[in-house]
């Protein structure tokens, strides 16, 4: 298990990470979410001892520098393009293998795993972002580490690559390892992660399982379609439920499908469709991080998005 305790980091006057504590369990994929500038990358750097700051992180009760070969404990991907552009992909991995005390034979194995064997003799300077991510994942896997810390590994991957990564990380965790992965691709995360840690402005917002997080959300709608929409709307108004008309139906806000179904039955309104629309991870994420965004875009020059 990875245990991060009281992590904190200041950049001059700005508090980037604020007394952050959490655990990453083995056997699970733990997603790490937060708006841009929330402190995700800084947190990962603190966990690896790359940056100086407060708090400590232990891997199976020992700090990373307490291990003789740290790369066999933690595999790291913090930046896709972290390589010399003209050093071949194979040489890049051979350098990292040497640094970690890993046999060279492992280099070909990881190249095969990520599907880069055919370009192993090329300099990665001209690799696409997706290929660079694969090389970064190969580097992280070199030491067959128990823990993987990956910062936005799905960025730039094609759909096939994403599906491969999702399954690979789930399998890797299922083998008794722990995967700690940050991503902005929330749909991807909802399919991949077992647990989620959400931060905003450097503070912990949520540390729970994906199921629990979705269940807690207030964002719960029901889509209903009827041949008598006027009667249905009257029944909804009587029941003081808010709703909105959409193409071909009505979305009833904050109501479960059984509640709407019962209402329609009592009003003798026939229904063609009745569907629960549970919260998506994106809905929950936006709900949780409201006010914790560092950077907010605008739809027009006048108003917020």
């Amino acid at each position: 298990m990875i245990e991060a305790a009281n992590l904190s980091k200041h950049y001059r006057k700005k508090l980037a990470v604020n007394d952050l504590s959490f655990k990453v369990e083995t056997g699970k994929v733990t997603g790490f979410l937060g708006p841009n500038g929330a402190g995700k990358s800084t947190t990962m750097r603190l966990m690896l001892g790359l940056d100086n700051g407060g708090g400590k992180t232990v891997y199976d009760s020992k700090p990373l520098h307490g291990y003789t070969q740290p790369s066999s404990i933690v595999g790291v991907l913090l930046e896709a393009k972290a390589f010399h552009p003209t050093r071949t992909a194979r040489s890049h991995l051979r350098v990292l293998a040497a640094a970690g005390g890993i046999p060279d034979s492992r280099v070909q194995e990881v190249l095969d795993i990520v599907g880069l064997s055919e370009v192993a003799k090329k300099g990665p300077g001209k690799f696409s972002l997706g290929m660079s991510q694969r090389l970064g994942i190969a580097a992280a896997l070199l030491g067959k580490p128990k823990y993987l810390l990956l910062d936005e590994p799905a960025n730039g991957l094609d759909p096939e690559g994403m599906a491969w990564l999702r399954q690979f990380l789930k399998d890797y965790a299922a083998d008794g390892n722990a995967v700690f992965v940050s991503s902005h691709l929330l749909s991807e995360m909802s399919q991949m992660a077992d647990n989620l840690i959400v931060i905003g402005k450097g503070k912990l917002i949520a540390d729970t399982s994906v199921k629990e997080l979705l269940a807690k959300s207030t964002h719960r709608d029901t889509f209903v379609r009827s041949s008598k929409p006027t009667e249905l709307k009257e029944a909804l108004e009587k029941a003081k439920l808010s709703f909105a008309e959409t193409d071909g139906g009505i979305v009833v806000n904050k109501a479960k499908s059984d509640e709407v179904g019962e209402l329609a039955f009592k009003a003798k309104v026939p229904l063609q469709e009745l569907t629960n629309r549970g919260a998506s991870l994106e809905d929950v994420f936006l709900e949780l991080t409201v006010g914790a965004e560092e950077y907010v875009g605008h739809t027009t020059e006048g108003g917020k998005q």
Binding site: R45, V76, K81, F83, H84, T86, A139
Partner: protein, 251 residues
């Protein structure tokens, strides 16, 4: 420590710049020694018994390229962010920096030895290719060897030191050229006057050139003393650099 060393040597030997720079050094030494100091040699210089030893000390000016290799070995880590991997692969930053120190030292010493051997050989071949003959040469092998090796190593260590301090390729290379040629010249004029020789790169040059006759501003240190002065600067600089490397954020 061994994995860190192995990794540093692989870094050095798997980038094009190491080979390009070494090739440039070789080409310059061959051209200067064979053509300028050999083929074109004529008149009384053919009768100078110190001609070849002078060629060695002159050729060693190109060891500045060794310092550039040292700078690239360090600053590529920051430019391409591979320092993330370097620092997370080892359990001690001290081991990493020591590995870089040893790797650069070995490269610099091999380069200086190579130049020290290639230069007189090319000069000798140049003279004979033109049909001339040199008088028997006086070569103090041990003296020449330590001064050459120290000069090459010293320059590379300065390069590595600047790279550790600045963590920036352009800034390190600019500093490497500006400090000896501009900063020290100005300081020499303004502050030190007759004691300019106590400045680091002036001292380093004294190691290889020895005390020059009749120049009161730069001629009062023996090679051994000049090496001592230079080492003092290196030690102080490296203490600061080492502390910064261990304590600073990765990049």
């Amino acid at each position: 420590m061994i994995p860190a060393l192995k990794a540093e040597f692989r870094k050095l030997l798997t980038v094009r710049s190491t080979y390009v720079i070494t090739a440039i050094v070789t080409a310059i030494v061959i051209f200067v020694a064979f053509y300028l100091e050999g083929w074109l040699l004529k008149g009384p210089t053919l009768n100078d018994p110190n001609q070849l030893s002078g060629d060695v000390t002159g050729a060693l000016n190109v060891t500045v390229f060794g310092a550039i290799v040292a700078i690239l070995l360090m600053t590529h880590e920051y430019r391409y962010n591979t320092v993330i991997y370097t620092l997370t692969s080892s359990n001690s930053r001290n081991k990493i920096l020591l590995a870089k120190f040893v790797t650069v030292s070995v490269y610099a010493l091999v380069l200086a030895a190579f130049i020290g051997l290639l230069s007189p050989l090319m000069s000798y071949l140049g003279v004979h290719a033109h049909g001339h003959t040199l008088v028997p040469q006086t070569l103090h092998y041990a003296d020449l060897a330590w001064r050459s090796l120290f000069y090459g190593w010293g320059y590379a260590m300065a390069g590595l030191l600047l790279a550790v301090l600045t963590r920036n390729q352009v800034a390190s290379i600019m500093s490497l050229f500006l400090i000896p040629d501009l900063a020290e010249q100005l300081l020499g004029f303004l502050l030190f006057k007759h004691n300019a020789v106590y400045m680091p790169f002036h001292a380093l040059v004294q190691v290889i050139n020895g005390p020059s006759q009749g120049d009161p501003t730069s001629s009062n240190l023996s090679p051994a003393k000049a090496a001592g002065v230079y080492c003092m600067y290196l030690v102080v600089g490296w203490i600061v650099a080492w502390i910064l490397f261990v304590r600073r954020d990765a990049n």
